[in-house]
């Protein structure tokens, strides 16, 4: 993407990005993907978030699941690191805490493949400014 020359430029970039994102979030779209965000702040990494992220990337590919794995900052649940947020197409995001390789495997097999929740969900307990 090139330089942002004006407010209009910026808004256009934003619209493009939003369109792309909603594409991958929209469950009716056949191309829709599973989204996984791994909290990769200092506490997360210290608790093994990097390994968890690598596990997801490798295993999802091996198991032929179309998914986007990205990193993100601290979700605030430092007591439960590493934390991972999984969004299935068309569904609300679900946050899992204390994720290690075994838990990640469980998440892929049960939640991502079959939509069955697994133990260790961290309920989201805050409001975002969008809602306000």
């Amino acid at each position: 993407m090139g330089e942002v020359k004006s407010l209009a430029d910026l808004r256009k970039i934003k619209e493009d990005l939003r369109a792309k994102m909603s594409l991958r979030e929209n469950s009716n779209n056949p191309e829709s993907l599973v989204q996984i965000k791994v909290a990769m702040a200092t506490c997360g990494i210290a608790s093994g978030a990097k390994q968890v992220m690598d596990f997801f990337i490798e295993e999802l590919e091996k198991r032929n699941i179309q998914a986007v794995v990205t990193q993100t900052g601290c979700m605030g649940y430092c007591f439960a690191e590493p934390t991972v947020e999984v969004t299935l197409p068309g569904k609300d995001p679900v946050v899992y805490g204390y994720v290690d390789a075994a838990k990640a495997d469980n998440i892929i097999e049960k939640y991502i493949k079959n939509g069955e929740l697994v133990d260790g969900i961290i309920p989201v307990n805050y409001e975002t400014i969008e809602k306000n």
């Binding site: 993407m1 330089e3 942002v4 020359k5 004006s6 407010l7 430029d9 910026l10 808004r11 970039i13 934003k14 990005l17 939003r18 994102m21 965000k37 909290a39 990769m40 702040a41 200092t42 506490c43 990494i45 990205t70 990193q71 993100t72 900052g73 601290c74 979700m75 605030g76 649940y77 430092c78 007591f79 439960a80 934390t83 947020e85 805490g97 204390y98 069955e116 929740l117 697994v118 133990d119 260790g120 969900i121 961290i122 309920p123 307990n125 805050y126 409001e127 975002t128 400014i129 306000n132």
Partner: protein, 592 residues
Amino acid sequence: MHVLVCGGTGCHASESEALLENLKTIITDKGLDNEVQVIATGCFGFCEKGPIVKIMPDNTFYTQVTPADAREIIEEHLVKGRKVNRLLYVDPENKEQIADSKHMGFYKKQLRIALRNCGFIDPENIDEYIARDGYEALAKCLTEMTPQQVTEIMKKSGLRGRGGGGFPTGLKWEITSKSVSDIKYVVCNADEGDPGAFMDRSILEGDPHSVIEAMAICGYCIGASNGLVYIRAEYPLAIDRLKTAIAQARNYGLLGNDIMGTGFSFDIELRYGAGAFVCGEETALIHSMEGLRGEPTVKPPFPSVSGYYGKPTNVNNVETFANVPVIINKGADWFASIGTEKSKGTKVFALAGKINNVGLIEVPMGTTLREVIYEIGGGIKDGKKFKAVQTGGPSGGCLTEKHLDSPIDYDNLIAAGSMMGSGGMIVMDEDDCMVSIAKFYLDFTVEESCGKCAPCRIGNKRLYEILDKLTQGNGTREDIDSLRNLGNVIKDTALCGLGQTSPNPVLSTIENFWDEYIEHVTEKKCRSGQCKSLLQYVIDAENCVGCTACARNCPVNAISGERKGIHVIDQATCIKCGACLEKCKFNAVLIK
């Protein structure tokens, strides 16, 4: 269908495990295994009303569910589709039962403004930031507003500095903008040094662009084209992410010359801290950036008049900046509608210590400590009793039970003998000795004092020594008076914010835990058992069988007693090594 059972520590204590087992057994009995799954979750952060059960997908939220309620939930709700009304949450204000958790007031306890993107976007991808309205505020300011208009919005929003002092941000910007100079600077204070605080680190790691954008907006307002981030070298990840973000912003032309063709230029450089807490004080920070010892100087002149290399410099901390783009986008009135009369918006706290949900939270100003600790924080770890909460780090004080229901804002905390500080919030339980805690903080201040002014350099050392004397059991009543006088004089005479607040942990614990201090000096007793020198090993006559094991193992022959007779420990000789306790097979050695 899913049945979610809270498996958080708080709920765990209230039998959530038995509940979970019951639910599972009954579901298997009824042959519902394929349709219903029972899941243990992390803490809902509502431990007061635990255990919590949530039924998905209809979002029904049951509170205070006992193991005996399992059958009713399954038979009524899952099988017949009728909600169990008596277990529904009742709104304390209008007494209405709420079935859907999305309508519960509890979820309004936390509101994420500064943390809006943390844990949501990829901090190393500027596009994700832009997709969430990133740089929109900067673009708006540059193309649609004059610097004065932006400053006006900031003033109207009521945002106050989040680094500790609480100086009105808009006013600071205005003063700097009015200082006449060819060069001015915008400085972001990211030298978060309070032990137990990690808000700024989390923001920089999770949402670096919001700080960059805000610095550019500030630069536009005050007429500066140079930005500097003074960041702790101990935060390598935050430094990396910030560097990446700056590079991306430059690539997009959002930093650099002639931003968006408006003629406004702004760029950001990093300066590293090197492990000196006092550099959080803005004059010390500026000296450190100039390559000097981080010693503070007397204000005035304020940095907004004469700062970095004598030029007008606006210093704000990370969290303050993180609020700015939202204020511009959503308006001053929106921001000012959140919080209390004199403290607007939200505050990020790093919850730590003896609390279940250690973590980063953001609540509107005016939230009570009780809400933060019990509802968001999930209560005290291991079911222990709450004793105190320390806010404001080494500059703050310890608040107790009686402060739990007072709303958190700048002025209330100061009135209670503590301060907002940067947002560290450490929870302590019955096992923590308040004299030792005060000593811990003084140890920190002694270590971190720059040494420039006498009251801080020597006075804090003396405070520490007296506290140490108390924890050794050598203190007197006069020592407590000395602590008070000395503490007050240091507050009154020290040069900078560090010294002026360093006695707070002592003064506030004396104020709030007077009995504990008195016990340390008169009874030579430490009720939490933290002060080793004050422990007493005694032999319980009822359990002692006279086996002599303790006496034989005592390295200083402090134990006497006939074989088969009751033994006694001579307190004057005892060195409190604990050997007797270890050797006694009859639980006859007790610690008092």
